[in-house]
């Protein structure tokens, strides 16, 4: 289990849970559980968020939340 902090609100996010396959689409692509959080590819790396609201804030103003 890899725990990281949501860069917007500081909530801990389990990256393994966000990426875990919980099912498959009808054509066989892996599906994830939306309740576990989400992520964002930004300038070459993935950032993890506990929900879409935090990610939306990050997308609109990434410089504010990056170290």
């Amino acid at each position: 289990m890899a725990i990281v902090k949501d860069p917007v609100c500081g909530t801990e996010v389990d990256t393994d849970a966000v990426n875990a396959t919980v099912g498959n689409t009808t054509s066989g692509a892996p599906e994830t559980d939306p309740s576990k959080g989400t992520k964002r590819f930004h300038e070459g790396q993935w950032f993890y968020f506990h929900n879409l609201d935090c990610r939306m804030k990050f997308v609109s103003e990434p410089g504010r939340y990056l170290p």
Binding site: T21, T25, G28, A29, P34, T38, F41
Partner: protein, 330 residues
């Protein structure tokens, strides 16, 4: 049906396709217009001979179905700001990034993907389009549920390796391919009028059978008549698009007009019908007394999505003003 026989079609033309799609929709039967009319027709225009021979018969047969991989969290209306990257590595492309509102990714075999291939170019350049098998390792699908009850998705792309020949058309010129596909997507979206036509018929039948107190009301008669006019206008705009497609043109302004009119007509129609029925029109679909088994509530909640799908109606009005009427870009 409209496609040439060499690609598995019948060479019937745009009108035939419209009529077929219209009738199937009227009866609630599936027809994958997005894969055939939007993506397939764009591949027919921009794809290589090998791609056309390989993919078009499969699209025609329903063996290849597409989700559209355009929108990203920061690139919707301003689609050219998309950041998903495709980097060439030997005989492959490596994709990293994410898409949102990848509707039907959960039921499609492929994604029609727009990705940035030259990050240093001006934003409308440096974009390329790809056909990607959705089972390719590194793609994950995350469901998103909309207020109308329908499902859309986010898709994540992490070191997704696809063959070099998945690129469609010229490298870094994908904006033009995507624009062509979007023009055709709006034709498809605008052509969804048979469900509205059926909606009017079912509403009138319901009022006659269940609410005879309303049939002589001038407000009711006027509202239903105005809705009928609006829906037939939408159908006429779709037929104009079909006529242009029939002559080999891409109906940019006409597709935008059709999409704007039909999506806003849908909202007006459900709103008017709910108003006519008063408090009963507001009942939740799960309520036993809900008229038409909740069809009005479902339709009303689902209709705003059409104003956004395929480019917002504000953008469509801008397209009509600039590309259609030649006004300068503001």
């Amino acid at each position: 049906m409209a496609w040439p026989e060499q690609y598995g079609g019948k060479g019937k033309g745009g009108f035939f396709t419209f009529i077929l799609s219209d009738e199937l929709q009227y009866h609630g039967l599936p027809y994958d217009s997005m894969s055939i009319t939007s993506v397939g027709s764009t591949i027919m225009t921009f794809g290589s001979d090998e791609q056309k021979s390989e993919w078009l018969p499969k699209i025609q047969a329903g063996e290849m179905t597409f989700a559209l991989g355009y929108t990203e969290p920061n690139a919707g209306t301003d689609l050219a700001s998309l950041q998903t990257r495709a980097v060439r590595d030997g005989d492959e492309w490596v994709i990293n990034g994410q898409k949102i509102y990848t509707s039907s990714a959960h039921v499609s075999t492929h994604v029609w993907l727009a990705a940035r291939t030259d990050p240093d170019a001006p934003k409308h350049r440096g974009i390329s389009t790809f056909v990607v098998d959705i089972k390719t390792p590194g793609i994950t699908v995350r469901p998103l549920w909309t207020m109308g009850g329908s499902r859309t998705n986010e898709t994540f792309w992490e070191d997704v390796r696809i063959p070099a020949d998945a690129l469609v058309g010229e490298l870094d010129r994908g904006w033009y391919q995507a624009s062509n596909a979007l023009d055709l997507e709006r034709v498809v979206l605008g052509a969804s009028t048979s469900r509205l036509r059926r909606g009017i018929e079912e509403f009138v039948d319901y009022v006659k059978a269940e609410r005879p107190d309303l049939v002589d009301d001038p407000f009711v008669r006027t509202s239903v008549a105005e809705t009928k006019v609006d829906v037939e206008m939408a159908r006429a705009l779709s037929l104009t698009c079909a006529a242009l497609v029939d002559t080999g043109m891409t109906p940019t302004m006409e597709g935008a007009m059709s999409k704007v009119w039909s999506s806003e007509t849908a909202e007006h129609m459900y709103s008017r019908f709910m108003e006519i029925l008063g408090p009963a029109g507001l009942l939740d679909r799960d309520e036993q007394e809900a008229p038409l088994e909740g069809a009005l509530e479902r339709g009303w909640l689902a209709s705003p999505i059409s104003r956004f799908g395929g480019g917002t109606n504000d953008v469509q009005r801008r397209i009509i003003a600039t590309r259609g009427l030649g006004l300068p870009r503001g």
